[in-house]
Structures are given as C-alpha cells and as structure tokens.
C-alpha cells in the first residue's frame, strides 16, 4: 500500500475536521443529557419524590374492637374474645407437605381445609401467610408454639371474634355477626374501608345489624414500607383505631334466662315490659338457636335442621310472629264501647250461647251460654256474645281506632330484625286489601280478636302496658349507648277516661283473682304482687258446623300443629303496676291452661329480686315451682358456655 504524502496530509485534515465536528456533536449531546437530568431531578424532583413515596408506603388497616353489648345489669351479652388461627408462610415452610403433616399431629386439621390452603398458597405470593386452621383452641396454639422449631413458617396469630356467652336466649334480640358480604357492602354508598378487610365481622340480624355503624368503631391504620412485590419490609408508624360504642340493653339476663328455662320445649314467646320507661325487661322467643354457630359458619346440616324444625327456631316470634289475639282483644272492644258512651258497667247483655246476626249464628265458647252479663263478668268469664253485641253497636272503625291507640297494627321502634306491623282491620283496610265491602260478620269476628286481626306479642305487651298506665308508653330496647342514656319512652297520657280504664282493670283483676275468672288457677297469692290479666285462645282451624254438632274435639286429641294458640296478657302489681307481660304459647291449647301459668311465673320472677318465695304461688303449684327453682339454680351455676354447647 503506497501513499503519497499529499494524500496522507489531505486525509489527516479531513479526519481532523470531521472528527472535530463529531466530537462537538457528542459533547453537545452530553450537555443535552445533563440538562435532561437537571430537569428531572431538580425541577421535577419533588413530584418524583412523592411518587416514590406512594410506591413505597402502603396503608394497612387495623380492625377496631367491636363495641360490646351488655344487659341492664352490666352482664355481657355480646363479647369479643381472642380467636386464634394458625397460618403458614410458604417460603419459610421448607417442605410444605411434611410441615403440614407435622402440624396435623398437633392440631386437628380439616383435610378439605388443608387442600384449600395449599391451593391458596400456590396461588399467592410465597411470603403471604395463609390460614390453615381458624378458631383453634388455646391448647392447640400453645402446642404449636412449643414445637415452633419443628414447624418452620407456621405461626399462631390472634384476632378478635364475636362471642355470645348466653347462647340461644338472645339469638333473636341481639342477632349475630358474620363475615361481611358483597350484599352488606351494597348497603353503603361509600363503604368504610375497614369493611374491605377479608372476613371482617358484620352484624347480620338483630341489634348487631341495627347498630352496626355504632358498634363497628373506627379503623386504625399503620403505614408500612412494601417492595415492588408487595412484601412488607418494615412498619413506619401506626395510628390506633377507635373501638365501637358499647350498648346497654334494657333486658335482664336473669329474667330472659328464666323464661327460656320455663318455656322448655314449647314454641312460645314472652315479652316483659317495664311500665316506667317502656324498657323491655325480657323479649324471649323459644326455641332459640346458638348464634355462635352462625359466627363460626354454620354447617349445612345444622342450618337445615333449624329451618326444618316445625317450632321455627329461626323466627323471632316476639316481633315477627303474628297471631289472632283472641279474647285478649276484648279490652279493646270494651274500651271502644265505653269511650263511645254506648255501655257502662251496669249495662247487661243476655248470652244464650250464641248470637244470630242476619242468617248466621255466632257462637259463644260456652255453648250453654252465660246468661246476663255486665262488663266485669263478660271480661272475667270471657263471654263472646257480650262483645259481639258491643261491636255491633260501636262499629269496627271505632274499635280499630282504639286498637291503634293501644299500639296494635303499628310497627314499634325496636332495633330487632323483621319487626312487623300486623293487621288492625277496618273498612278502609278491607277495601284496599281485598277490594271488598266490610260485612257485619267481620265486625263480629274482630270483636273477639279473630277474623283478620293479627298481633305480635310485642304489640300485645304494649297494649297491656297502655291499659295499665293510661299513657302511650312505647317499648325501649337500648338503655344507653356508650354510657349516654337513651330518652325514656314512658309516654304521655292517651286521653282515655280514667273511669273507663279503671273498670277494665278491675275486670282484668277478676280474671285471675275471682274464683270464676278464667285464670284463677294461675293467680298470685302474695297480696302486694297480685296481677290483672286476660286469657285468650286463638283458633288455628275453622270449626265447621258439622264438627260443632259432633262436639268440638278436645285440643289434647289434635295433632300439635292444629291445636289452638294459648295467649295471656297481664300487668302487675295491680295496685302499683310495674310490669306488663304478653305470653303466647303456639298450639298450647287454651290461654288459661297453657299461657297463664307461664305468664304468672314470669311475672313473679320479674317482680322479685332473686327467686320469689313459694308462698307467692297457689298451693297446688308450689312443688313444681320448687323443683323448677332448684333446676334453675343448677343451670346458673354452670358456666354459660357449657350451656351453650349443650343447646
């Protein structure tokens, strides 16, 4: 390769020139890079710093402790107890299968749960803990902790879970909580972020759901540093949450417990209302169910058994159960007649055992008839014909108006689920409901609480309370929220003639204290505690004319679900009323035989501090009462949880 010197010199110049140009371009570009760096890091630095923080810092919610629920004496009804669960972190567990096998020797593990847990572990990030056993006992937890070295990646964790120490007796009142569902979230326009925590407990029925927002409290939060994969690197700071508000109910656990024990296997309900503030001292529906099972997640079989039970344990009979009030309605008819000025205490009606209205015969329960009846006797002996006559004179609209004044056909503001309205029929109602004209026979039926009249035990208790006080007293279930007393619901006077009320009350006194009264056998002996009441029997079936001719079949001979409902309403003490009670025993037979004895026992239990003396009961009942009291003492000595597990 030969080159001339000119060639070489020319080449060197050209390289020099182009080299300089290119060098200049390179330096220029380096300057551009430096300027870009300055723009990003200095001018936009703050924004990027914020974005980096947003990446790095994650807000985690700390679930708040749910507010507790107490009874009027401070006994815990709904508590939070530590719930232990065992979690496994896949990446720490080493050989997952053998670790879980070792764990299974210490803790009872459900095979299907294990399968689910392993599947979940394989789906999620290896550092995330997955629950393999929920709600394990303290013993299991301590066994796991003691064997920790042999169980890599296995951690016992503790949280809070709702527990109902009294089991079934408050199932319908307080209800229960369950993990929050999509449907619950749909209730809120902007759900509290704490509800997004998986398996967060949310009130499903009863007070738990009606006061959900107060009981829930406010979530705390902690800021944690996470990496790109979401693993928590460290905690930066935390803000503690606020526990939910504690509720104090008006119920008395001793009384509620007594009622459930007294009702035994009956399908029945009892409402006890205090006459000063309207406090519901007891509101019991039997049989109940164990709400703790629902909290844990009830098995399909258990739920099926509850649903299939003919005694309807899932139904809250006190507010949701509606029954024809039967003769307990007669006070309404009588008071309507008195207020209309149609009758007086001396006015009598002849009862031949039936009343002919048009072509139809309406029978009295006593086929032979009661003879001459005045108001007092008619209520005491529950003569039907007297009230047929009164109703025909005063008309349905006035009766219905009186019923509503006394709290029938109305939804009472009680924080329980499925509180119903019932039916207090009148002419307008029938036109609207059935598009039919009211007939005279309807009035006759309604006058003794049959026909279309439907009332709940709660409404009957309110009616009795208003008769006893003359005030528009309403039921109150929540006594205080976080120590702040709720307003009294004692009510204002209804504006009924005090004389009329006194005549009704006197007749009710006779029902259980006059030898001829329908509830005389269930009277209270103790002078200062005597009660006034009214029996009622509501037919479940229609009695046909043919059947009546044959002679009505006795209740004991009928299958259970075709027997009459027994009702009893009462208040006590007569001289100084403190409580009103409504009792309904489904298919229990008559009011005097099925409901009145229960109502009397409950009334005495409510009036005395502690167990009432046997001397307060009629001699015939004393042995039975003593036995029951003995049983109850034993029941109370058992830990509540043992009772629950048996229930």
């Amino acid at each position: 390769m030969r080159r001339t010197s000119k060639d070489s010199a020319d080449s060197a110049r050209r390289i020099t020139r182009r080299g300089m140009i290119l060098g200049g371009v390179q330096l220029g570009f380096a300057t551009v890079l430096a300027m870009r760096m300055r723009y990003m890091q200095v001018d936009q630095g703050e924004e990027f710093r914020l974005l980096a923080e947003e990446n790095r810092v994650n807000l985690r919610l700390i679930p708040p402790a749910r507010g507790q629920i107490f009874d009027r004496n401070g006994v815990v009804i709904a508590a939070n107890e530590p719930a232990y669960r065992i979690t496994v972190v896949r990446e720490d567990a080493g050989d997952l299968e053998s670790t879980i096998a070792r764990l299974a020797t210490l803790v009872e593990l459900d095979p299907s749960e294990i399968e689910r847990a392993i599947a979940e572990m394989q789906r999620s990030a290896p550092f995330l803990p997955v629950t393999v056993a929920d709600r394990v006992s303290w013993d299991s937890v301590s066994r796991v902790a003691a064997n920790a070295p042999a169980l890599p990646g296995v951690n016992p964790e503790v949280g809070l879970s709702r527990h109902y120490p009294h089991g079934e007796i408050y199932a319908h009142v307080v209800g229960y909580v369950q993990p929050v569902s999509e449907r619950d979230l749909a209730r809120y326009e902007d759900p509290d972020p704490v509800l997004r925590i998986p398996r967060f407990q949310f009130g499903k029925i009863g007070v738990e759901t009606k006061y959900e927002d107060m009981l829930r409290g406010r979530a705390g939060s902690k800021r944690v540093e996470v990496n790109a994969a979401g693993r928590v690197m460290r905690e930066l700071d935390r803000r503690e949450g606020e526990a939910g508000a504690d509720l104090q109910l008006t119920v008395d656990t001793r009384l509620q417990d007594y009622i459930h024990a007294r009702l035994g296997d009956e399908s029945a309900s009892v409402v006890v209302m205090d006459l000063e503030h309207g406090d519901l001292l007891a509101i019991a529906s039997a049989p109940g169910f164990d709400p703790n099972k629902f909290v844990r997640g009830i098995s399909y079989d258990d739920y099926g058994a509850l649903q299939g039970d003919e005694r309807a344990p899932l139904v809250s009979k006190t507010v949701q159960g509606f029954y024809p009030p039967g003769s307990t309605f007669k006070m309404v008819t009588a008071l309507a007649a008195l207020e209309a000025g149609i009758t007086g205490p001396g006015n009598t009606v002849w009862c031949p055992g039936h009343l002919k209205v048009g072509s139809r015969r309406f029978h009295c329960w006593k086929r032979a008839g009661h003879g001459h009846m005045n108001l007092e006797n008619a209520l005491m002996q529950s003569c039907d014909v007297y009230f047929y006559e009164m109703a025909l004179r005063v008309g349905i609209d006035k009766i219905a108006e009186m019923g509503r004044k006394l709290g029938l056909g109305a939804i009472h503001d009680v924080p329980m689920s499925a509180v119903g309205e019932g039916i207090m029929p009148d002419k307008a109602w029938k036109r609207e409901r059935w598009n039919q004209e009211w007939r005279i026979g309807d009035t006759v039926n309604c006058s003794i609480g049959q026909g279309d009249v439907l009332t709940s035990p709660l409404q009957l208790a309110v009616m009795t309370a208003r008769l006893a006080t003359g005030r528009s007293i309403s039921p109150r279930l929540v006594r205080s929220i976080d120590g702040v007393e709720e307003p009294s619901r004692g009510g204002e006077p209804i504006g009924l003639n005090e004389n009329h009320l006194r005549w009704i009350r006197a007749a009710m006194y006779d029902v259980s204290n006059n030898r001829r009264g329908t509830a005389y056998r269930s009277r209270i002996i103790a002078e200062e505690m005597r009660m006034a009441g009214k029996t009622g029997t509501s037919q479940v079936r229609n009695i046909t004319a043919a059947e009546r001719a044959r002679g009505v079949t006795r209740n004991e001979d009928l299958p259970w679900n075709r027997r009459d409902h027994g009702l009893f309403v009462n208040y006590a003490p007569y001289d100084n009323p403190r409580i009103a009670v409504a009792t309904i025993v489904e298919h229990g037979g008559g009011g005097s035989s099925a409901a009145a004895p229960i109502a009397r026992d409950v009334t005495l239990q409510a009036l005395y501090e502690g167990d009432p003396p046997v001397e307060a009961y009629p001699t015939a009942d004393r042995d039975r009462i003593q036995e029951l009291q003995e049983n109850l003492r034993q029941r109370r000595q058992m830990a509540p949880d043992e009772r629950t597990s048996r229930a």
Binding site: T16, G19, L22, A34, R36, Q41, G45, N55
Partner: protein
C-alpha cells in the same frame, strides 16, 4: 511524564512501552469501573458477592487484556482486522443456530468459563474492518459509489444478523457506529443526505398511510410501534418499567437519597437494576451531582480518545481511535437517553458500569487497541 514526551521520535521497545501508555485514560476507565462496583454493591443490598465481585474480577481481566493488546504493535492489529471481522460474523451465524436463549433472544455462546456475546465482539470488529478498509482505500476513491457499497455491505451483514436475534439495541449501535465511521473517513456529504432523506421519507410515508385505505402496516403493528415509542400508553405493561425508572431518577433530587438509601431500587420497583437501569440507581442515590459526575467521566474518556486520534498521523490508528470513542459514546448516550425516558427502551448497557462480562471485556480490548495506536503512533 512519557505521555507528554512528544519529542521521542522512535517507537519505544520492550517493557519501556508501558511508560508511553495513555495513563490518564486508564485512570478514567478505572474510575468509571469503580463507580460501577459501588452501584452493583448498592443494588445488591450491600452484598459484595452478588454482582460487584464478579464484575471486579472481569475488570481486572479486562485490564490485563488491555495491556496485552496495547503492547502489540498497531499494524499487527490492522492486519488482523479482516480476520476479526470474519470470525465475528462466523460467531454471529453460530449463535443463530447454537446460541442460548436469554431474555427472549439468542445472544450468547456458552464457552464454559464465560458466556460470549458475539454481538459485543462485532462492535469492535466492525470498527476495525472499516478503519482498515479506509486505510487501504486510496482517498480519491472514498466517495465513489462502488467503493461506498463495500462498507455498506460490511455494516449491513452483522446488523441484519444481530437484528434477527433479536437485539434491536446492538443493531442500532452497529448501524450508527458504522455509518459514522464512513462519515469520519470522508465519504461525501451527499450520501448521508440522501440516506437520511430517504429514511425520513419512508417513515413519514408509513405513518401517513395510517388510517387510509393504502395503509402499509397492520393496525396492531402500528399499536406496537406506538407503545415502543411512548410506553406511557401502556402503563401496566411496557410503561410500568420506564415509569418506575423515571421515578427513581427524579426522586434523587440535587444530591440524592444517600448511598444504599434509594427506595426505588432497594424495594425492587426499578427493573433490570443491575444492568440496563443501573444509572437510575446512581441518580437516585447520588442525585444530580452523582449523575453529572459520571457523565463528566464519560466525556473526559471521549475527549482523551479524540485528542489521541487527532494527534495520530496514521490513518488506521486515527480512524480506529475515533471509531472506538464513537462506539463508547453511542453506548452511554443511548443507555442514558433510554433510562431518562428520552428514547425507547432498546436494551443497551451502560458501558463499564452495567453488570455483564462480554461488554466489559470487549470494551477493555477496544481501549487496548486505542492504547496500542497511541503507543505505536508514528513520531
């Protein structure tokens, strides 16, 4: 200092040659490598064994290779250029058939003790063969069409092979490096003007055809180009990484968040934090000051190469030194543009800093050539 002894007229012999090396350049290279070790130590979370130590060993090996290459006279390397080019092309073809697949592309051959990326080797071989070609070609023929075709073919063969791997980043570096070599050699302006005009015309025609009935590409192809050019249109896919990289860089501020305190890299938000995106960790932890410092080191290396080249009266040496400086520039310029969100992400490492064996060794050999040209320059 021997570097300043221009008066020495003869090429020194034996071990005395070592005194005539471009020592400031060596110091600069070592300084950049040290920045690399520091950052690799940091992104490994304070572990020296993960990335920093292997990188140090490679640098020492590279330094040794550089000395060996520098000791051999430059005319030997000129004579080896064509062979080096042919071997590199051969290896590229081999990688096509026997190469290991990594990151979705066939890029390396496993030699047992190291993984060789022939595409890295090709960057230097192409510079060598083009420098040798223009050294051989009489100057007046430089701009004749026939003699322009030859280097174009020399450039397009390896570019095409690398593109099929597919390794877009290296292909761009080869194409740009080769083209600029031709520019340096003195090929007439008109050729470059014509190629640029044709390229612009073609690209704009393709984009103008979009949405018309003579559309040249399918819709999904256009969408892919969109995402490539502007990753923010795909914030959860391709855009996620570049967004995180920009956050890392921007959050550094003036002086950075402190050594090993960069949350974006420490918490793994930063992708490829030890290779392509290592500059973002530097910028996050040492801020604007740290980033510009590295940039200044790079520019100084560049300046030393250019000075050395312009002082050298041997045409091959001069072209080779400028070409290697250019390749080095393209490396860091493309990488930095990419991690700052100025250019699409094409997968080009930061020279001497990113973790990676082939690139480090090949660069050190290349600077060995620069040193050889410097030592054996005609005086």
């Amino acid at each position: 200092m021997s570097y300043l002894e221009y008066t020495v007229k003869t090429v020194p012999g034996g071990w005395r040659k070592a005194l005539f090396l471009n020592w400031p350049l060596i110091v600069l290279l070592a300084a950049v490598a040290c920045v690399g070790f520091l950052m690799l130590y940091s992104v490994a979370g304070g572990q020296i064994g993960t990335w920093a130590e292997p990188q140090m060993k490679r640098f020492l090996l590279g330094l040794a290779l550089m000395f060996v290459v520098a000791m051999v006279p430059i005319w030997f390397w000129r004579n080896m250029s064509v062979l080096a080019y042919l071997i590199s092309v051969g290896l590229l073809v081999m990688v096509e058939f026997f190469g290991s697949v990594g990151m979705g592309a066939q890029r390396w051959i496993d030699l047992g003790f190291m993984r060789l990326q022939p595409s890295e080797l090709m960057k230097i071989a192409l510079v060598m063969v083009l420098a040798a070609y223009y050294d051989w070609l009489p100057l007046k023929k430089t701009s004749r069409p026939l003699w322009v075709i030859v280097p174009v073919i020399l450039i397009l063969i390896p570019t095409g092979l690398v593109l099929t791997q597919p390794d877009l980043g290296t292909a761009i570096l080869l194409l740009a490096g080769g083209g600029l070599m031709m520019f340096l050699a003195g090929v007439h302006w008109a050729y470059f003007g014509a190629v640029i005009a044709a390229g612009v015309g073609f690209v704009s025609t393709v984009f103008k055809s979009r949405g018309t009935d003579w559309q040249l590409l399918k819709d999904y192809q256009f969408r892919r180009i969109d995402t490539f050019l502007d990753p923010s249109t795909d914030p959860l896919g391709a855009g996620y990484h570049i967004t995180q990289a920009k956050i890392a860089m921007g959050s550094g501020g003036w002086t950075g968040r402190g050594f090993m305190q960069g949350t974006q890299s420490r918490l793994n938000f930063l992708p490829e934090k030890h290779t392509d995106f290592i500059f973002n960790t530097l910028a996050e932890e040492f801020g604007f000051v740290g980033g510009v410092s590295l940039l200044v080191l790079y520019v100084l290396i560049l300046v030393f190469c250019i000075i050395s080249a312009l002082q050298n009266r041997d045409r091959f040496s001069s072209l080779l030194t400028l070409g290697i400086g250019l390749t080095f520039f393209l490396y860091f310029a493309v990488n930095m543009s990419m991690v700052m969100g100025l250019a699409p992400v094409v997968g080009v490492p930061l020279p001497l800093v990113s973790y990676g064996g082939s690139a480090m060794l090949v660069l050190m050999i290349a600077f060995g050539l620069v040193q050889s040209a410097h030592v054996h320059r005609p005086r």
